[in-house]
Point group: C2
Chain length 401, copies 2
């Protein structure tokens, strides 16, 4: 099949980002240019919408509204965490047939790419004719085949800004401060906290990643050393830090699981409080505090990376272009050119290559002590977040009498 005539359905899935609606609007506005795409429909709450008949007409949305939506954080169509079972696929195709859906676009992370893959494979089996595409987004930056993913730059900017402020807070009222940052398996977002460091004594002084074993004794020793040197210590910790056996530190103290059966790491302050308790007891420091940056990392309005917003729009647009071309299914990947100046290009990849499996921080981004990033990571991440607010400090010439 090359070009099909019929309706298009688009939906959003997984955790939201600040720029996920850029992709939605990018896809809608591109779709409007192609006569083969007759109706442009949205499925509310991911594939749940097509299962329950919650389908909206996106051609009826005003352009001025769509432009505002593009700049608004979080999934405008609603989201879901759900992979379709075989019997649900049948139901989905039955409904797609009813709505004459010939193009399907699913904006999300690797779980969403897997959903697209499942649908695409099942469609072949039952002979349902449609084109099925995944549009990448995830603040975790953990999609395979991508240099980075839409949503990451803005979340990374939020984390860097939060850390910039928290470093100043910790400088004002010195103590030990632990900040817990999102990222179940990939440390990219936690690593972005390093971008807040401007002066030699700035925090974060230590950064811990889910990719490397987190050992309490080593952690305490390192915190103690920093505290003795600067009379304060600011620490960035990934919510996903795990012991040598790969068991998440947080999992030892919580039994809550999400709908994928994963231990709940976000939406709780448990890990930060646990680490603060240990530090307080073992290092006998009075002022030990923990913050968990939480959902603000993926939803805070007005703080976004311009590069990220542009690329998020672009991947939506390009997915529709791919669907208008020779491809029957696939995903859009972002690759970086090997040039001095930051520049990207987009490449088609088959769904199975980005589905399910995730990408970790490469070893070259983590220092040999496993407690900070390398210069290579800084070079990688800086162009993705753009400019941070300027920080002024006093020279502090001492008065001697």
């Amino acid at each position: 099949m090359s070009k099909l005539r019929g309706n298009m359905l688009i939906a959003q899935s997984g955790g939201p980002t600040v720029v996920i609606n850029q992709s939605l609007v990018g896809a809608i506005l591109e779709a409007k240019k192609h006569k083969e795409i007759e109706g442009i429909f949205g499925s509310l709450f991911g594939i749940k919408g097509i299962l329950t008949g919650n389908i909206i007409d996106l051609k009826k949305e005003k352009l001025s509204d769509l432009k505002k939506v593009a700049n608004t954080p979080c999934s405008a169509l609603g989201s879901v965490r759900k992979k379709p079972k075989d019997e649900e696929c049948e139901e989905i195709f039955k409904n797609m047939q009813k709505y004459n859906i010939r193009y399907f676009f699913y904006i999300g992370g690797n779980d969403s790419a897997e959903t697209a893959y499942i649908l695409s494979e099942n469609a072949k089996k039952v002979g349902y004719e449609f084109k099925c595409f995944h549009i990448p987004k995830t603040i975790d930056n953990d999609l395979k085949e991508n240099d980075h993913t839409p949503g990451y730059g803005s979340a990374a900017k939020f984390v860097a800004m939060a850390m910039l402020g928290d470093n100043l807070d910790n400088k004002s009222l010195p103590g030990i401060k632990i900040d817990v940052i999102m990222g179940r398996h990939a440390g990219f977002l936690t690593a972005a906290s390093s971008l807040a460091k401007i002066y030699e004594d700035d925090g974060p002084h230590l950064i811990y990643f889910p990719e490397k074993p987190f050992m309490i004794e080593k952690f305490l020793k390192e915190v103690d050393e920093v505290y003795k040197k600067y009379n304060r210590c600011l620490i960035a910790v990934s919510e996903g830090i795990s012991d040598e056996k790969g068991e998440p530190i947080a999992a030892k103290f919580t039994k809550e699981v999400d709908s994928h059966g994963n231990v709940q790491l976000s939406g709780t302050g448990a890990l930060g409080d646990l680490l603060a308790d240990i530090v307080r007891k073992e290092l006998k420091v009075d002022r030990v505090r923990a913050d968990t940056f939480g959902y603000l990392q993926r939803s805070f309005p007005g703080v976004y990376s311009e590069v990220d917003a542009k690329e998020a729009y672009k991947v939506g647009e390009i997915a529709v272009k791919y669907a208008m071309g020779k491809y029957e299914s696939g995903s859009v990947s972002i690759k970086r050119e090997e040039s001095k100046k930051y520049k990207v290009y987009y490449e088609w990849v088959p769904l199975e290559k980005v589905a399910k499996e995730t990408r970790n921080m490469p070893d070259e981004f983590i220092n040999k002590d496993f407690n900070w990033v390398t210069e290579k990571f800084i070079e990688y991440a800086k162009p993705l977040i753009g400019k941070l607010p300027e920080i002024g400090i006093l020279k502090k010439n001492k008065v001697n009498f």
Copy 2:
């Protein structure tokens, strides 16, 4: 005494704010205009600096640096939580004599106003000749004699923006979400979350204040009602919510105290997690999450209210003007004119009137069910935070086949 000739000392105390350095720079630049003020010195980490001889020369700071510092969050001179004992006052005056300090300015909340009052009273006793002023700041907005305090508007804007984003997040992935907001005794900051509500179904759906008793049964009933109506519920809770006897809910589960002997409420996710656990168990809802906005509320760079920044600068400037006039001591209070358009004026108040005791949310700002604000609060708070980012939503016309 009217005008004294000698040096001025300025310091910052208590929790930082995003605009506290506006007051510092406002005072420094005003001081430069007066020949009676010879040296302009800064005490590092509040009164600790004058006790330990950590005094810096602020005249040696470049104007361009000072301007950057004014726009930088958190106490540029460092801060402290400490009230001087009688023997420390003696030490302080001995050092002030050495540095020939004749003007003292202390930027902070009610605890800092009390420190200024203690110093001012002790100076009279021992006959140390100086002028002693308090410059207001607190994100809690709980200083007596003030319509509002510098630092509040910016923190309130951060809270409103965070809630704006979290409402969209909660709409994307529906469930029950609890956000814990700073404010030990005063609910002003928690109340500011109401400014995020634009549409009828927007959160926060419920707001709980430290001023009114928090009853678990009532809370669960109200959450359940909202959840049944909207299939989601977003709740703003003050960290200081307390039971009928005035015991903080958080205190029931933590033994940590700060240096003033108060139970530690900030820098921990305990209260949010506790409430989430209760909701999960009692209401049998799967997706229950809690975030504690934490120190980002007082330190996040780049997010500030313009009105707040201007007023923070102004109170620093005016404190120096008062010191150059007839007053020997005092604080600067912000009053609001009874006009339709937002306008303030500044008034001298004696130190003892803003020291120690704090101001709560007036009853007219809390609704009769004690779970939301009144229109009067919205009118009060709106001009203090300025513009919020624009939010776009889809009209969602259903497709019917």
